[in-house]
């Protein structure tokens, strides 16, 4: 029996363990809630994570292309990118899979399987690198919101209407103080 078949057989156990480890990266009070609620509308964090882990493992055993893997990874990385983790911690959960598989397949590790597993593990490494790309993409996206984005559209509008003029006493400073513009993007 090959490694992939072994993983297939224990898939749900692997995902469950992996989820458990991933959830442990959150402080206990948080993880309790993320773990418990099953309704995906009431608990998007827990549900996104568990679905994502399942998909990643499937992507690995199906040996999907990098592009496809990026799509599969996106929801969980995107989530962790806004959850106050250090970058290394944010993507660390990918590596946990190595642990989990080795642990669960402990008894099945013949020489042949061990060889296959090393190759599989290098694929996990590759996935973690893709995850890091996505993580950076997300952070950049957020910085863009902070910086400008919609503001340009609005500024154009103000310019067109000739609104960008100095107002005596108050100064031009009044213009950016806009509570509705840009979702609150200021230019500080």
């Amino acid at each position: 029996m090959g490694l992939i078949t072994l993983i297939e057989e224990k898939r749900s156990k692997i995902v469950k363990e992996w989820f458990k480890l991933t959830i442990k990266t959150y402080p206990k009070e948080k993880s309790d809630f993320f773990k418990k609620k099953k309704d995906s509308m009431a608990n998007p964090v827990g549900n996104t994570l568990s679905k994502s882990l399942e998909d990643i493992l499937k992507g690995l055993t199906d040996d999907v292309e990098n592009n496809e893997m990026a799509k599969i990874l996106d929801p969980s990385v995107r989530l962790r990118a806004v959850q106050e983790f250090a970058p290394s911690s944010a993507v660390s959960y990918i590596f946990f899979l190595k642990n989990v598989i080795r642990d669960i397949l402990k008894k099945d590790l013949t020489k042949e399987i061990e060889k296959e597993l090393l190759i599989f593990e290098s694929k996990i490494d590759r996935v973690s690198l893709i995850a890091f790309d996505i993580y950076m993409g997300c952070r950049e996206q957020i910085f863009t919101y902070k910086a400008n984005h919609v503001k340009e559209r609005t500024l154009k509008l103000l310019e067109k209407a000739d609104l960008l003029c100095e107002v005596p006493e108050v100064g031009a400073e009044i213009i950016p103080h806009n509570v509705y513009l840009n979702g609150g993007f200021d230019d500080k």
């Binding site: 993320f34 559209r153 009044i174 103080h177």
Partner: protein, 538 residues
């Protein structure tokens, strides 16, 4: 062979966080974790006390010397004034029904974002200062002493509440944590602790009538500019009036509709609608703001900023007021305006001049929400609509917290949507109507420095949009709130790319078949209508 790093060693960089009692975890005031504090000058401009330059990141917040006395007396005054506050302080049985209903808790998992614990931050001081048992038993009775650390905690967590009231829907005692947050923010303001994103608009509004500090001539220009666009799109010329005495109706909308996309398209929609039905209305360059950030500071400031609506209506001699698409504006109007600045006996109970419908619910305030007004027009067949002009859109509807929970406006916007577009899909039941999830940026939290928090708080809403996006191909999120229109675009871009945001009346404007109009080739965003590609740039 070199030593291979084992996975478990790699994992050591990510230790399981230490488990500490939640009450002992101090709030994090590193950059990005708090909204910027207000500047002394905007506090001074409206006469708020203890104005000074300070930052939450500082160890010393430079609290006034007698700060404990200020809080104690301020608290006492409010307990005497608002019976509800005392009831909310006394009646929570800690049943936990509200605990996991807050979008900030769902998104962050932070226990202090459970409504019950958020309230507990204030309640513990109440017990200590105002109840015998708390005075006697202290910590055992859930009481604690007021220290600067408590003030810091208040600042952190009462600015992580959007006053959305979702929690109150689930509380068997009707405890409204939003009201508790409002009280806590009032107390913080007594110490000169407030945030820039709220105080700046407040002081602008106090001076020029709108949050942006825009002056009358500029307000007028921007509306005229909309009319030019409308003419280009429809061929119909509009001549809205400003500050016209004797008009039947005064129209007031948040200034965001005038100055920020995509709210601007809704403003165009309003103007087209009024033209279409021949409404005798006027716009005010003084009451040029429907929104009221005073609500997020103190009831006194809310009242002061709100007063201009009635005063202007009286000055212009209109019969009643029509209000645009806004969220918190309606909370102020619906819940407080009548008693606060009324009775407005110089106005008449609103009657639609087109359909003759009496808006009974607005008899007291004399102010009608435009979604109700338009729904009534459609119901009475007064609008000529071609919903196929919105066929490129698959629309869902975000119930903005205040219109939904604050005034029970649930069906009117949906009725309008079903008539102006052919593809409408609601999000899952547990996330809409009175259960609606907040955008995550309301009550003055729509500021950019806390973008990460906003994205976490907005996750439950975005998650439900994602559901209909994947299931039905929804690509447009409609809403009736100016803050929503500003904050949902980045939220969608991050969580559900491919979904855009619009106001209700943008879709009305698209569908409206106006008298004398040319064949429409563009929508209100001046984008080609499907099947008309390329025609518009000829």
């Amino acid at each position: 062979m070199v030593d291979v790093v084992k996975p478990e060693e790699m994992i050591k960089i990510d230790p399981t966080p230490p488990s500490t009692n939640w009450m002992d975890v101090p709030p994090d005031f590193s950059p990005g974790k708090f909204p910027y504090p207000s500047q002394a000058k905007s506090l001074e401009a409206v006469g708020f006390p203890n104005a000074r330059e300070w930052s939450p990141a500082d160890e010393d917040w430079k609290l006034p010397e007698n700060w404990q006395q200020i809080i104690h007396e301020g608290f006492k005054e409010r307990l005497d004034k608002y019976r509800s506050l005392k009831v909310f302080m006394d009646s929570c049985v800690r049943c936990g029904a509200c605990a996991d209903k807050c979008h900030f808790f769902i998104g962050t998992g932070d226990p202090k974002n459970m409504p019950v614990l958020r309230a507990e931050l204030l309640r513990s001081i109440y017990r200590n200062d105002f109840t015998t048992i708390g005075k006697m038993l202290g910590k055992f009775a859930g009481a604690r002493k007021l220290t600067p650390a408590v003030i810091k905690e208040w600042f952190s967590y009462f600015y992580q509440c959007t006053e959305c009231r979702r929690c109150s829907v689930f509380c068997p005692y009707g405890i409204d944590t939003a009201e508790i947050t409002m009280m806590a923010r009032e107390l913080l303001h007594l110490l000169g602790l407030s945030i820039h994103w709220i105080m700046d608009p407040v002081s602008n509004c106090n001076r020029t009538g709108n949050h942006l500090g825009i002056q009358p001539q500029n307000f007028k220009e921007i509306i005229e500019f909309f009319c030019e666009d409308i003419e280009e799109i429809t061929g119909v010329t509009l001549n809205p009036s400003f500050n016209r005495k004797g008009a039947e109706v005064l129209f007031i909308t948040p200034s965001g509709d005038a100055f920020a996309d995509p709210g601007t398209y809704s403003f165009m929609g309003y103007l087209m609608l009024f033209e279409h039905i021949g409404l005798d209305y006027t716009l005010s360059t003084y009451a040029s703001e429907g929104g009221n950030f005073g609500l997020f500071t103190s009831s006194e400031m809310m009242k002061r900023l709100n007063a201009k609506m009635y005063r202007e209506a009286e000055r212009l001699g209109v019969k009643w007021i029509l209000g645009g698409e806004c969220g918190h504006m309606w909370r102020v109007i619906n819940q407080y305006m009548g008693t606060m600045n009324g009775p407005a006996n110089f106005l008449e109970a609103p009657v639609s001049p087109i359909t003759g419908t009496k808006f009974e619910n607005a008899r007291d305030t004399k102010m009608v929400h435009i979604a109700e007004f338009t729904a009534d027009l459609i119901k009475n067949n007064k609008l000529n609509l071609d919903p196929s002009r919105n066929d490129h859109l698959k629309v869902t509807y975000h119930d903005s917290c205040n219109p939904a929970r604050g005034m029970g406006m649930l069906d009117e916007p949906r009725f309008v949507l079903e008539n102006v577009c052919n593809n409408f899909h609601d999000m899952p039941e547990s996330t809409i109507r009175e259960n609606t999830f907040c955008c995550g940026s309301g009550s003055g939290l729509n500021t950019e420095e806390i973008m990460d928090l906003r994205l976490r708080g907005g996750l439950p809403r975005a998650n439900a949009v994602k559901y209909v996006h994947e299931k039905h191909g929804v690509n447009m999120l409609s809403c009736v709130c100016a803050i929503d229109r500003a904050v949902l675009p980045p939220l969608m871009d991050y969580w559900v790319p491919g979904v855009d945001v619009c106001g209700l009346h943008e879709l009305v404007g698209n569908a409206l078949v106006m008298e004398g109009e040319i064949e429409r080739e563009m929508d209100l965003r001046m984008e080609d209508l499907p099947g008309k590609e390329g025609d518009s740039d000829e």
